[in-house]
């Protein structure tokens, strides 16, 4: 594939994905905007994929070191992003626990 057609197919994917993103995110409950931010953080840490290749390939050590730091940063986002999202979501409840009283 030529450079140009590769670029255009990438751009194509980007534009379509952005439209999907806009459509899906617009319907996210306003209650959940903070967890939304942390889960998209974790998802965009998919940069981990690029970092793994750079870190693990047969490249000069300096290059691999840069990749390793990037991998560490992305992995931190993945772990903390998903964990804290789940932690927050667990707290959203419709009703009080039984025995807590105070039904509406």
């Amino acid at each position: 594939m030529t450079q140009a057609s590769e670029f255009w197919s990438q751009l194509f994917v980007f534009v379509l994905a952005s439209f999907i993103g806009l459509g899906v995110i617009r319907r996210v409950s306003r209650l959940l905007h903070t967890p939304l931010m942390s889960i998209t953080n974790a998802i965009s840490a998919i940069a981990v994929v690029g970092s793994i290749v750079v870190t693990g390939a047969d490249y000069p050590p300096m290059i691999r070191l840069l990749g390793g730091i990037a991998l560490f940063a992305s992995m931190t986002n993945i772990v903390s992003g998903f964990l804290i999202t789940d932690r927050m979501l667990k707290m959203f409840k419709t009703e009080r626990k039984p025995g807590d009283g105070g039904h509406r």
């Binding site: 990438q10 965009s44 970092s51 793994i52």
Partner: protein, 469 residues
């Protein structure tokens, strides 16, 4: 075998990410979204790691282990610290993109000029600009939110600030263009770090004029940048999974930023270049207005006789960690058959959705949290509006005072309630430095003190009072 598996695996991962976000549309399915996200990520990591091109494993294991060591404690921070954690994770995202971009450039230089085509160089330059400016910008934002001593809290402004920033950006873009045109010139390897330094500097300068009240918008914009830098990385590496996942993050940040801007009736450019801090000094002075204070006993009595109470939380509730006391108050009022609702302004707090998370943490059912547009028509029927550490979002001046910096901002109509109690730490104006005339209204009674202790006193009063009935 593994090499052919990578494409279907990436498609599945993309689908899982889209489902993850789709399930966030209601709290009932949201946790399913997390599992979908984790599954997609796990799949993507496993398949990539198994690629034949990945031959060294030691550093990968080390870096992943490091990610767990740092990531797990970062996920355990108190919920009041979530805004700064989020800013920090944007910084990490930006850093990762910047570093991979840097690695790809020097790799291309070493391997031969034919790898550094024009398209690729444009992507690399975009990646490092976005990546590094997101890195320092988000670090600054995190520092401001964490209230670190060496990070100025108030907006820092100086003459020709916007011009300086613009000039810096132009220089960075110019140097970047030179690199795109002549990626293999002998000076390219030395010019590349210049772009990095300029991007790092620009990130800092972009954030220092921004005050705390604008943080929800800025965090959303940085969120978008972090996503876009992942997209740029996808262009560099020709990796469509990176492009899609980054685009999802980028559009999420964009939508949140738009919602925040609408909620403040301001534009992007105004938030980023408006330097909110300086406008209001002119308004200081004027006639001395008088607050009316109320005692805890008096407030408790009024609350007891109400049938509909609306609590309006703001950043002050987060600062004082008052959400659990608020919940005790909520319980006591409910027990007396009083209807209690929470009115949440979109920009209350320091990030989108901040108040909802804090109240959910305190075990308040989300069915009792109402958005501004939902509750405003009911405000005239409200017996007591209790303002807990919110200020600008209930300032009636936003409706008509054209000289006010918050003019035009949609507000929660606390002033339409029959009685207003406002809890405030001190008699100083709020974050934006604007006097709030709600506090001087005939039906407003001030309860001065830290939100947590004032509500605590109210709770004590109400629970002891119940014995007398």
């Amino acid at each position: 075998m593994m090499a052919t598996l990578i494409h279907p695996a990436y498609i599945v991962a993309t689908a899982l990410f889209i489902f993850a976000l789709h399930w966030m549309n209601t709290p009932a399915t949201a946790r399913r979204g997390v599992y979908a996200g984790v599954a997609g990520m796990g799949l993507a990591v496993a398949v990539t790691w198994a690629q034949p091109g990945v031959v060294h494993h030691g550093w990968i294991v080390l870096a992943i282990a490091g990610g767990f060591v740092v990531g797990v404690p970062l996920a355990m921070v108190p919920l009041t610290a979530v805004p700064q954690r989020t800013a920090l994770s944007h910084a990490f995202g930006g850093l990762a993109a910047g570093l991979v971009g840097t690695a790809e450039f020097y790799l291309g230089l070493g391997e031969g000029p034919e790898t550094l085509t024009t398209f690729r160089m444009v992507a690399i330059v975009a990646e490092i600009l976005l990546g590094y400016l997101t890195f320092t910008g988000s670090l600054m934002a995190a520092g401001k939110l964490q209230e670190l001593k060496w990070v100025p809290q108030r907006p820092v402004t100086y003459p020709l600030q916007n011009l300086t920033n613009l000039a810096l950006l132009l220089v960075a873009a110019g140097v970047g263009t030179a690199l795109v045109l002549y990626p293999t010139a002998e000076w390219a390897a030395r010019l590349f770090p210049v772009v990095i330094v300029l991007a790092l500097l620009f990130g800092v300068l972009l954030i220092i004029p921004i005050g705390g009240a604008d943080m929800p918008t800025v965090i959303a914009i940085l969120n978008s940048y972090a996503g876009l830098s992942a997209v740029a990385m996808g262009f560099v590496l020709d990796n469509k999974l990176l492009i899609t996942a980054g685009a999802l993050d980028g559009s999420s940040g964009l939508i949140l930023a738009i919602i925040m801007c609408k909620a403040m009736n301001r534009s992007f450019t105004n938030v980023l270049f408006g330097a909110f801090g300086q406008v209001q000094q002119a308004k200081a002075g004027g006639e001395q207005k008088v607050y009316k204070s109320e005692t805890i006993e008096g407030a408790a009595q009024v609350l007891e006789q109400a049938s509909l109470v609306v609590i309006i939380p703001g950043y002050g509730m987060a600062v004082a960690q008052a959400q659990h006391k608020v919940r005790e108050l909520y319980d006591l009022l409910k027990k007396r058959g009083i209807v209690v609702k929470f009115a949440i302004h979109p920009v209350a707090g320091r990030m989108p959705g901040h108040m909802n998370v804090l109240l959910a943490e305190a075990d308040i059912p989300y069915t009792d949290l109402a958005e501004m547009d939902e509750i405003n028509p009911d405000m005239p029927q409200v017996d007591v509006a209790l303002v807990v550490g919110a200020n600008d979002v209930v300032n009636p001046a936003a409706r008509y005072d054209k000289s006010s910096p918050i003019f035009g901002m949609p507000i929660i109509d606390a002033d339409k309630a029959r009685t207003v109690f406002a809890i405030k730490r001190s008699k100083n104006p709020g974050f934006a430095g604007i006097d709030n005339e709600l506090y001087f209204s005939d039906k407003t009674w001030m309860l001065f003190g830290d939100a947590k202790s004032v509500i605590g006193e109210l709770v004590k009063q109400l629970s002891s009072g119940s014995g007398m009935h």
